[in-house]
Each structure stands twice: as C-alpha cells, then as structure tokens.
C-alpha cells in the first residue's frame, strides 16, 4: 500500500541541468514511463543504483524543462538572449542542434511534398513505415515547416540563411536547405522507381542545384532568392537542342566521344549503339525544364531516360563517369556549338547528380 502520493516534485537549478540522454529520449518521442524503463535498463546508470522512483522524478523534471525550452527552440536566436534559463552557450548549441536533427528515413518520406496540413495528416503512416515515433515525426515535420516558412522569402544564400536563423551546424543547415529546396520546387521523389534513392542522394542533388542553377549561384549580389531555379537559365537551356536537332553536330559529337572512350570503357559497344538516345534524353530533359511540371519530374526523368538504360546495359560507375566527362568536354570542341557556359552549367550538375544516383 502506498501511503502517500507525490503531489508536486520540482527541481530548478540556477544553471539549467540538461541530461543529454534524456533529451534524446524526449526528442525520440518516448513517453515518461518508456523513458524511465529504458533508463533503468541502460548500463550507463547502473552504477548510480538509481531506483525507479528517482529516475521517474528526474525524467519528469527533465521532460518539463524540455517542454518549457521548446518554445524558445522554435526560435533558436531567442535562446541566447532569453533570461528564463541560464544555459551555457555550448549547451544551448547542443539543445538546438539536437532539436533540429532529423531522421533521414523520415525526411526521405516527406521530401518534395508540400509542407502542409494535408501532409501532416499522413504522418501516422510515415511513422508506421519508418518506425519513427509519431511525436518525433511531428516535431521533425514542424521543424521543416518552420524553417521553410522563415527562409522561403529571405534573400541571399539558402544555407547561410538557415544557419543564421536557426544557429545550426553547417552540415545540418545544408540538409535543411535541401528539404526546403525540394519542398519549394516540389520535386517528385515518391515514385516507385525513385524509392531506391536515399535522403542523402537527394540532399546531394539539391546541393548541386542550389549551388549552380539558382539565381544566387551566379549573382553574388544576393539580390534574389536561392530557393528557386533561375528562370532565365532554364529558358536558355532550350538552345541546347541544337546538339540533337542538328544531325551533323550529333554525329560529330558522337564520334568525338567514341574516339575518346575507345578501349577505356567496358560498355563501349552499348554506348556507341545508344549514344544518340542517351544524348537525346539529356538534352530533352534540359529543354523541357521551363515547364514547372517537368522540373518536378527532373529526377524521375533522369532515372527513366538515362540511368535505367545504362543500368540495363550494365555500365559501371567508372564507365559512366568517363562517358559523362567526355560527353561534356567534347561538346566544346564542336565548331558550331556556341553555348559553352550554358552547357557547362547544365552538364556539371547533371553529371554529379547522375553519378550520385547511379547505384542499386
């Protein structure tokens, strides 16, 4: 028989005590009782001989602290000049970074989707599919949304904006930039054929696109936003059609590439046979990018039109690298080809994206 019950139990330190382990449990969306059980089972605390009661009290306390901090974490810059909690700067950084960290499996599911209420309703399914607790999914989704809302309208480099406003580490800021970028352009990532691609694959591609295809990429004045692809550039891409529409140029291009690659790649004959199709695929993708719909389909197009044919011909990554390298460089030697810079800007990104995406 318990003769008493705890009505109230608080602990407040002048310096706010934060147990990183409990913080992670909280972030992962575990309930207090789950967290207590997990802490009891963990080895780290076995030496403290802490009883369930002590752990429960401590966990409750920590959870409460986190809940109170959460409001501040939504606007990380506030954490540094708020007065309520005295937290050393390096602990603040830890709190923020951990709060904004996300599960890549979760992010992969949300990538390219509209960060709206509708998607939020799907979180149950995502939680089931990924094994990430619903609570945690919600936090991560809200983080995405929050970051998106703040940087969407901001000028200047996307990564820096994220970093500046949310005080995140460089790598995490880049991941967020990718999420924001995908959400903004609504790239298709959910098709079955794209399922094999991980969040990191897409994040890399997003980085490439942000770095080379947006306005900010060429205009250092940071007058415009980093979130959108440069319209003018996309429009100009139509000019590349000449490479496949001009018969002579196509032949010349092919022979130059074949000359360079002869004996160097295993799939030479397949390449030779398929060159025109492959080139046409890449140029078609380029020329269609003025259409918002086609921009969204960039990745599925790359996979269907280019990666799959190569894969079925059993190209190695090495083969592909050499091909794309020479495919790009030989175009410069074509006499009639005048769009060197445009070509370089297009192919640079396409090449690295394809290489990143070319795996099983």
């Amino acid at each position: 028989m318990r003769r008493m019950s705890m009505e109230l139990d608080v602990f407040v330190g002048n310096t706010t005590i934060i147990d990183e382990e409990v913080y992670q449990l909280w972030l992962d969306g575990h309930s207090v009782s789950d967290a207590v059980r997990m802490r009891l089972e963990s080895d780290a605390l076995s030496e403290c001989e802490a009883s369930g009661e002590v752990l429960h009290s401590d966990t409750m306390d920590q959870y409460r602290t986190f809940q109170m901090c959460e409001r501040l974490l939504h606007c990380p810059s506030k954490l540094a000049n708020q007065l309520l909690f005295q937290i050393p700067a390096h602990r603040q950084a830890m709190l923020i970074e951990r709060y904004y960290e996300f599960d890549h499996t979760f992010a992969r599911e949300v990538l390219g989707k509209k960060l709206s209420k509708g998607t939020k309703k799907d979180l149950d399914d995502i939680s089931l599919k990924t094994g990430v607790a619903l609570k945690s999914c919600r936090r991560q989704f809200d983080n995405f949304k929050r970051v998106f809302k703040v940087v969407e309208e901001l000028k200047g480099p996307l990564v820096e904006n994220v970093q500046h406003h949310f005080l995140l580490s460089d790598s995490l800021a880049r991941d967020y930039a990718a999420v924001v970028f995908f959400a903004n352009s609504r790239f298709e990532t959910g098709k079955r054929k794209l399922q094999y691609l991980s969040f990191q694959d897409f994040a890399f591609c997003a980085g490439q696109l942000i770095s080379y295809w947006t306005v900010g990429a060429v205009d250092n004045m940071m007058e415009d936003m980093d979130v959108d692809l440069e319209k003018e550039f996309l429009h100009d891409l139509k000019d590349l059609k000449v490479l496949v529409n001009d018969k002579d140029m196509l032949d010349q291009h092919k022979s130059l590439v074949c000359y360079q690659l002869k004996g160097k790649i295993k799939a030479f004959s397949e390449m030779e046979a398929n060159f025109k199709n492959l080139s046409r695929a890449l140029i078609n993708i380029a020329s269609k990018l003025t259409n918002t719909k086609d921009v969204r389909d960039l990745f599925i197009d790359l996979v269907e039109k280019f990666i799959e044919p190569c894969r079925s011909d059993k190209w190695t990554v090495g083969d592909l690298t050499l091909f794309l390298t020479h495919y790009t460089s030989t175009a410069h030697t074509l006499e009639m080809f005048r769009f060197q810079i445009l070509w370089e800007r297009y192919m640079g990104v396409i090449k690295s994206c394809i290489l990143k995406m070319y795996h099983d």
Binding site: M4, L8, V10, M68, Q86, H90
Partner: protein, 1049 residues
C-alpha cells in the same frame, strides 16, 4: 528636495502578441514612483519596441527613495477599449542610495505578470542624484549598507560590532480586504506585491535609522521575513547585526599586512626553540581564511605581538591562556585577566538590551567560548492588529521570547547569543514563534571604542582551535547534566562531551575527518481543534517534539561517531492535524572534544532468547554502521592518550618542563582523560515499540552515495580544493497523505522517507558534479493543507578535486613549512620528503608522530603542520627516515585558508575558466549561491541587498503542466528576475542567497494555484583569483604560495 530619481526606458524585446489580428503589439510604458507617473509614446506594431524615451525625472524625499520601488508597467495600447497590461517590473533603488554600492541600474528586466509569468523583457536605465541633506532629524537612513551575509562581508573590515537591531511593521493583508471580493486576482496580487515591497523598504529604513543611532553604518546578517497572518494581517519583520564597517580600499595591502603577522611568530618561535614542547598539544590553530585574514588584518597586531610572544617564552599560538601568567589551574574558570576581560565585555554587552548577533561566523578572536544552543518557542493566538502604527502585541511577543533566550544564555554562563535567528509557523489563528541561537562569550574587541591595550590584543589573537569549545559555565554549577572532560587539545580546560551550536564551524577549529549533514525528522499527529484549545494542545506537544528531535540528533551523531553539531536549525511547522519537526545540522568530530562512545542497546524486559538475539543483532548492526561511518568520514582520532602515557620519548617532555610550568598538570590531565576514556557508551533502552522504531529509523538513513558529501554549514571541514563549478538549486516536493488515520510512527516514516528520497534525487541529479559537496543544505517544511507535507530545499553543489584531496593536505603542510622557513631554499626539500614519507607509509608515520604529538589527526588532515625547529634542514630528512622520531608538532600555522583561496593549480583553473567563457551569449552569467563566497574568486564589490517578493497565480493549472509545471516555471522565473536585477546592478553573482518563503496553495478542482516566494541575497561583483594574481601588486603571501605550489608539484 533631497534626491532626484531618473529613469529612461530604452527598449523591449520578446513581447507577447497582444493583438491577435496583426500578431503584433502596440506597446507603451508607464513609469511610476510614488504618486508621479510618466508615459512613453506608443511604439506601434512591434514585439521588439524601441522607445528610447527621454529621462523621466522624479524629485523625491530620500525617505521615499528608501521605501518605494520604481514601478514600470508595460501596456498594450488599444484605441477602442482599455489598455491591456502586459506586465510589470519593480526596481528597488536602494542600492543606488549608498555611495559604495551600484551607481546605475541598467539592463534587461523580465516583464512579470502575476498571472502569466514572464512576458518579454524591457531595457531600463535608472540613476539617482542625492543632494546633501543636513537635516538631523531626518527619517531616512540612506547610506546604511545592508548585507544578508552572516559574516563580515569579504571586502570590508569590522571596526565595531554594535549589536542587535530589530524592527517589525504590520499592515492589513490586501488579500483579505473587502475590496478583494470585487477586484481581479491580478490586481489583488499586485497590491500585495507592492505592499510588501513598501513595507520592506520602510522596515529597512527604520532599521537603518537604529543603526545610525548606534553609530554604525551597516547591517550584517540582515534577515527579513514576513508572516502571512491571514485575517489578522501581514507582518514584515527583520533582525540583523549593526556594525561599523570599513571598506578595504586596496584589497592587496591587507594581504601584505597580514603577512608579517602570519610568518613572524613562527620566526620568533624558531629562535626561541619554541616548537619543541607540548606533547599532546594539538596542532594547528587554524588560521582564518585568507579573505578573512585580510579583512581583519588591521586588528592582528603583527610585530608587537610576535615580540611579546618570544619574550614571554610562552606558546601563545598553541595554548591560549597559559601566557597570562596566572598559572590558573586547568579546568578552573579563567585567570584574573580573563575575568577582567569578561567583565569589560559584560558591561559592553549589558548596555544592550539584547546581546544577540545574527552572525554565524566571526572575525578571529571575537568568539571566545561557546556554551550551547539556546532556543525558545511560544504559541500565540492571532487576533486582528487594530492599529498598524503601533504593532505592540507582536513586538511584545518577540520581546518575551528574546528575554527568554537571554536568560537561557545567562544560565549557560554566557553573556551573548550568536548565530541568532527567529522564525514563525502559522496555521489558521495559531502562530508558533521560535527563536534560537548559540550562547557564547565574546571578546570585547569589536565592541568598545577605546583603544585596546596589548593584553587585549593578546588574548584576542589567540584563538587556537580548541578555545571555543571550553565551557563558559561554572563546572560546579552546571546548567544541565553533562560529562566534562579536559580538552583533548590543550588539556587545560574542560570541554563538554558534545557541543551543539547554530553557528558555522569556526575556521580555526580543529576537526578530525569530514563532516556530514545530520537530520532529525519527526511528525506528530494532533487533534483538530480551535482557538485556545488548539494553542494549548500545541504547546503541550512542543516539549516532547523538541525532546525527541534532540534524542534523534544525538543518536545520529553518535552513529556517525561525531561529537559536535554546527548550523543547527530546528524548524517546527504546525498544521491542522499534525506537527512537523525538522532539525538539520552538520555533524563533525571536534578534536578537542572526547571521542563519542558507541551506542549500546539495552533490552529492558528480561525475556526469551529470540528477543536477546534480536537485540544483539541490532547491536551488531549499529556497531557495524559506526565502524563504516568512521571510515566514510575519515574519523580516525588517534588513540593518543595511552601512547602519550607510554611514550618512550623523554626528550620533548623534558623540554616542555623547562618551558612550561603546567606540564605536570597537563600530564595529569592526560591521565584523567584516560580514565574517562571509552567507558561511556550511550545507552538506548528498548522498552517499547517506539524505541525499536527509533532504532530502525536510525539505521535506515541511507548513506550519501560515493563522491558526495553534504552539510548545512557554509563549508565542509576536510575539503579545501574546491573547483569553480557550482550549481545552486531549489527543489520542492509536496506529498499528499492519502491515509488520514496514520499513527505517529506511520507519519514519521512517511516524513522520513520523503526527506531521504528527496536527498537521493538530489544526489542523482547532481551526479555529474562528483566529487562534490552539497553545502548550505537548507530544508524548510510546511503543512500547507490538511494532508499535505511540503518540503523545500535550497543548496549549492560545489565540485572539488578529489585527486588533490590528499595531496593538497600535504601541500598545505608543505606550505606551512614554507611559511616557517621562507628564506632557505635548501629546506624546500624537506616538506616534499615529508609528504612522500607520510603518504607512502602513512601508518608508520602517523604512528610515529602520534607517539610524540598526541592527537595528530592522521596524515591527511590538512591542518597539521609538522615542523621541527630543533635542527636545521640537513638533519631533518634523516630524522624523518627514522620514523619521524624527532618530529615534534610545533607551532602551527595552517594554510588551509590559502588552499581555499586558490584551490587549483593555475593551469587547471585557467582551463576551467576558458571552458566557461563562451562567446555569443548576450546575457550575463550570474552565479547564485547560499554561501557568502564563491570558491576560487574574490568579491571586490557589494552592490546592495536583493530582497524580492513575488506572487504567481494561475487559473489554468492543467494547461501549465499541473502543479509541478506551474511551480517549476515560477521558480525559474524568480531565479531569472534575481539574475536580471543583479546583472542590471553590474554584478555577476548573488551570495548568501536564501529562499525565505515558498508558500504554495492549490485548488486542482478549480484548476487554480497560487504561490508566493520571497528571496534575498547580496549582489556582488567577483573576479577570479587567477585573474587577480595576474595583476601587478601581488600580495606577498599569494606569491609565496604560488611559488611553493610550483615547487611542490
């Protein structure tokens, strides 16, 4: 027009959204002082308004300046309806009224609302211009400094200690006024906050006037409390110790000044061949902490004293009263001079109505003897205070209690009470008033204006580690039964077998091992009753409660093999149907007092074998626990007595005969002591179930986990190498007793578990700070409702360097030696050898030493100085190897103080600092501690007293996370507001922080809760000692220390 107050509202930030439509706020500010109000412009549509207002000027009397707070209200402008209040900031401008405190208040203050808590921040600038006021009959006491610290503040020295000041003011509680029925909770709370702020100001001003009358300029140990008497009113009362303080203008000079005084005696001693005698004389007159030493340097007669000491051939620093030439026989009361002195002090004290001092630690030489704890309680029935201007009843009540305390002290042969405090516990219309303190005999040194002659100084300076234990009362006419023995240190004077006090452990005290927190907890049921019957029932219960608490304390003390309690605080809390008693103290083993006997259990009923078995089992358990505790707290008092008797070394004793006339009697003393030895075990009779229960509870106190120590005094004896890591915290728990029909024993167990579990949780929370000590652990209990028990703890956890515990002890030994032999470099080898020897061979050396020296508290004890002055360095090492035969414990100057001052080798402390200085944060880090100091730092300025009172109320308890969520954020808010005020004063720490009141009331059915918190402390600026050292005017002692530690490690 004696003063001009100027305020400027700069900006706001993080304001709440007041206009849902725009998600913004149109904020403006009202600045009010007295009856004058100014307004800023409305800063439209912003959560971060930039008002940048003009200077608002208030021309006011300084009386008002003292009483009134500056009131800043932030509002949201609304064109069509009434403006909504966002929140308020009250700024106490008292710190600006003293020339030595802060000059400007400038910074971000949390905007506080009693319903919503903190809602954004506001940046404010406040200045005061005071005009000279020659009016002698003024009502103000501007310039009198107030300190919560219960010792002389670190950067001041005491010129005079005038004595006790007290005052109380009463008023109607706004919460109980008729108007409260029609006004909002917010308005009611604000009226209360404002009233208490006003009353505090008035109280402080009145006390200040008393201080000026007495000729003082400061109040130290200022303790202000309020009593919420409900219907009958609101009482704010304060006590303190009036002093005349001198600011040490240059903090370095005193350090140099003290130096000759520290080192020259030993030099003289050397010449006199002085350290060789005194078998059985304990070492170490612990020197004051460095800071204090500095503070009082001007009182330590340096050269003159040393000369005197050498000429009189007496060992002043060791044996206090022998130098008086009285030849007074051991144990007898005082020589003539002492009597004279006492007389003088007596008269000095008799001029005072109440010779009470709220100080808990004292300038060296001030506290001569300690009699024991005196306390008085009285139960009163509250009635409405009819005339607030003449609060005679309350005054009379306290007067009565103080008289009782005074007479208790007299009975103990003491003329003063130190460590004095007062408290109340109120339940409905019954109020228990309590007062307690420690009866003591004080030196007249700080109490008389007249110049002190040398004899005075003489005695004053001698405060060896045992003098304060010597009984002040007449042994033939003892006020209570006690077993007296001869002091185990000096063997001249009688000491009691145990000593209870309410003060901090004197720095010079000789302590064996470490101390620990000891608590006695008791819960007694009481029938519900009304009025006088209730009061009678309570007063009938009180003596039993106190007796049992005392017994529990005594048992627990014995169980830990300790013989003295410091910082004893007994709190009795009254509820409708129960009384709670909680006694907390820090137990230590005073080297001067006899070793406590064990605890012996005696079964009363002669009975069957199982019973006997049970008893012997229990006895075994107890014995085991005692043994374990001895180990845990490192209590290894050397069994000196026999060894001294059987000491095969004749030489030192012969010498001592040569030099000291009392040597014979001292030998006799030893023999006497022996006879007292160990026979007196404490007998616990088990004659009823209660006793069995008692013993059980005795044994169920969980030991502190490894790496933890705890005490309720400022510092823990035996720990010196504090790091700068500290964590102040408040923890509150409320338990609901679901079974109302509990027996006393059941209740006891509940209460006991409650406290134990709370401690366990604290240890767990703070596990990352290990090794660490919870210092100044302050428990308060309350019975807020019928079946609720509330326990609140405020304490500070301070880390220390475990690896260095021993080394440091040794180092301090080294340093002591270094002190004694400052010049000769060759001799530096010696201490190193010594420490190596004692560590590698602790048993041998300890034994070897104890053969000669008697109560040598193990090689670890830092207060020990092994120094031989007979031979010069060359032979020392050799002698050491001969098992320290020739090491005599000689003159002792411990440097444990210096240890405390800079606990870390420089490199370490620097690295700690660099860890802590992070870039980027715009908020000043403000440390808070209930202690009067921060380890490894030096307080360079006191900015004024912090005394804040807050009310928080909610009508959406569930939404705020229930009672725990509500209180958690409120306490965090209170901390934040304290820090903000300190930072605005230009400070970086609060010392002597105290949460004096935490009244929590809830009504979960109505989804409501209310809490009142009252906190106080001293805002200070501190600098790290390592930074100080870098500055050019290096104190001599500090440089000596650095070099020594440099060589030593």
């Amino acid at each position: 027009m004696p003063g001009k107050l100027k305020a400027k509202i700069v900006a706001g930030r993080h304001l709440p959204v007041m206009d849902r439509a725009s998600d913004l706020t149109d904020a403006f500010v009202e600045v009010k002082f007295g009856n004058t109000t100014f307004k800023t412009d409305v800063y439209p549509k912003s959560l971060n308004p930039q008002w940048n207002s003009e200077w608002f000027k208030f021309e006011v009397d300084d009386e008002d300046l003292q009483d009134e707070p500056l009131q800043i209200t932030v509002l949201d402008h609304d064109t069509y309806s009434a403006n909504d209040a966002i929140g308020k900031v009250y700024i106490d401008i008292d710190p600006l009224l003293s020339s030595e405190a802060a000059t400007v208040i400038s910074g971000w203050f949390p905007i506080y609302d009693t319903i919503h808590g903190i809602r954004g921040e506001i940046n404010v600038l406040v200045k005061v211009e005071l005009f000279n006021d020659l009016n002698r009959f003024r009502q103000s006491s501007c310039g009198v400094k107030f300190f919560c610290t219960t010792s002389i503040p670190r950067c001041y020295r005491a010129v005079m200690v005038h004595g006790f000041v007290e005052e109380l003011v009463v008023n109607e509680d706004p919460e109980y006024q008729w108007i409260d029925r029609i006004r909002t909770p917010r308005a009611s709370n604000e009226a209360r906050q404002r009233l208490i702020s006003l009353m505090s100001g008035e109280l402080q001003r009145k006390i200040g006037l008393k201080v000026l009358e007495m000729g003082g300029n400061a109040v130290v140990g200022y303790l202000q409390c309020f009593d919420l008497e409900g219907e009958s009113g609101l009482v704010v009362r304060a006590i303190g110790t009036a002093c005349t303080l001198d600011k040490l203008s240059n903090t370095y000079t005193p350090a140099t000044a003290i130096n000759p005084c520290n080192s020259s005696p030993s030099k003289d001693i050397k010449e006199a061949g002085f350290g060789e005698e005194a078998p059985g004389v304990p070492l170490s007159s612990g020197p004051p902490t460095p800071l204090r030493a500095q503070t009082f340097s001007s009182f330590s007669p340096s050269k003159s004293y040393s000369r005197q000491s050498s000429s009189s051939d007496t060992e002043l620093s060791l044996t206090p009263k022998t130098g008086m030439g009285s030849g007074g026989s051991a144990g007898k009361e005082a020589g003539p001079l002492k009597a004279l002195l006492r007389q003088q002090t007596q008269t000095a004290l008799e001029q005072r109505e109440f010779p009470f001092f709220t100080l808990t630690s004292f300038p060296p030489g001030f506290l001569l003897h300690v009699g024991g704890v005196v306390s008085a309680r009285s139960v009163k029935l509250l009635d409405r205070i009819h005339n607030p201007d003449e609060p005679e009843t309350r005054d009379a009540w306290w007067e009565e209690i103080r008289q009782e305390i005074k007479s208790h002290a007299k009975a103990l042969g003491c003329h003063a009470v130190v460590g004095y405090s007062e408290s109340t516990s109120i339940c409905e219309e019954v109020c228990i008033l309590s007062a307690s303190g420690t009866a003591a005999i004080l030196s007249s040194r700080f109490m008389q204006d007249s110049a002190l002659d040398t004899e005075h100084r003489f005695e004053d300076l001698m405060s060896p580690g045992c003098a304060f234990c010597h009984i002040p009362y007449d042994e033939l006419n003892m006020p209570f039964p006690a077993q007296l023995t001869y002091c185990h240190c000096c063997r001249r004077y009688k000491v009691p077998d145990v000593l209870f006090t309410t003060i901090d452990l004197p720095t010079e005290a000789n302590v064996t091992g470490k101390g620990c927190l000891i608590q006695a907890r008791l819960c007694r049921t009481k029938k519900k009753a009304q009025g006088e019957g209730n009061a009678t029932a309570i007063s009938n219960l009180l003596p039993f409660l106190e007796y049992e608490l005392h017994t529990q304390l005594m048992n627990k003390l014995k169980l830990r093999s300790m013989n003295a309690l410091f910082g004893l605080r007994i709190q009795i809390s009254v509820g409708e149907n129960m009384l709670l008693g909680l006694a907390s103290a820090t137990g230590v083993y005073l080297t001067a007092l006899p070793s406590p006997g064990g605890i012996q259990i005696a079964g009363k009923t002669p009975s069957d074998i199982t019973y006997e078995q049970h008893i012997s089992n229990m006895q075994k358990k107890i014995n085991d626990t005692i043994a374990k505790n001895k180990e845990l707290y490192e209590i290894n008092p050397p069994d000196l007595v026999e060894e001294v008797i059987g000491s095969p070394i004749p030489e030192p004793r012969q010498r001592s005969r040569l030099f000291r006339s009392h040597s014979e009697s001292s030998d006799e003393v030893s023999e006497l002591d022996l006879s007292h030895g160990k026979k007196d075990a404490f007998v616990l009779e088990i004659d009823d179930t209660d006793a069995v229960e008692d013993i059980h509870s005795l044994l169920t106190d969980a030991p502190t986990p490894p790496g933890f120590y705890s005490c309720n005094t400022e510092i823990m004896p035996g720990i010196y190498n504090w790091t700068s890591a500290l964590q102040m915290f408040t923890s509150v728990r409320v338990f609901r007793l679901s079974n109302v029909n509990l027996t006393n024993q059941g209740l006891n167990k509940v209460f006991n578990d409650l406290c134990e579990n709370l401690l366990k949780s604290l240890y767990f929370k703070l596990r990352s700070m290990v090794p660490c000590c919870l210092c100044h652990v302050n428990f308060t209990v309350a019975v807020p409702e019928d079946e609720l028990i509330q326990v609140a703890v405020t304490a500070v956890a301070m880390s220390f360097d475990k690896d260095q515990t021993q080394e440091n002890g040794r180092q301090s030994i080294d340093k002591n030696l270094m002190k004694a032999i400052t010049e000769n470099e060759d001799q530096l080898q010696f201490p190193l050898e010594l420490s190596a020897e004692s560590s590698s061979n602790p048993l041998n050396s300890a034994k070897g030493l104890s053969e000669v020296s008697g109560p040598l508290p193990s090689a670890r004890a830092p207060s020990v100085d092994y120094s031989s002055f007979t031979d010069r360095c060359s032979s020392w090492i050799e002698q050491l190897r001969l098992k320290a035969h020739t090491i005599r414990c000689g003159s002792i100057k411990t440097m444990s103080s210096l240890e405390k001052a800079s606990p870390l080798p420089e490199g370490r402390s620097r690295s700690l600092r660099s860890n802590r200085s992070y870039a980027g944060s715009s908020v000043t880090v403000v440390k808070m501690t209930p202690l009067s100091f921060i380890p490894g730092t030096k307080i360079i300025k006191y900015l004024g007293i912090i005394n804040m009172f807050f009310i928080r109320e909610t009508t959406s308890l569930r939404e705020e996370g229930g009672v725990s969520g509500f209180l958690h954020s409120f306490i965090a808010e209170v901390f934040a507001m304290v820090r903000a005020h300190v930072a605005a004063l230009g400070g970086n720490a609060v010392v002597s922080y105290n949460m004096k009141e935490c009244v929590f009331m809830e009504n979960p059915n109505k989804n409501q809760a209310q809490c009142l918190i009252n906190v106080s402390g001293d805002a200070v600026i501190f600098v790290r000692e390592s930074e100080l050292e870098a500055t050019p005017p290096q104190p001599h002692s500090a440089s000596a220390q650095t070099s020594s530690s440099g060589e030593g490690t």
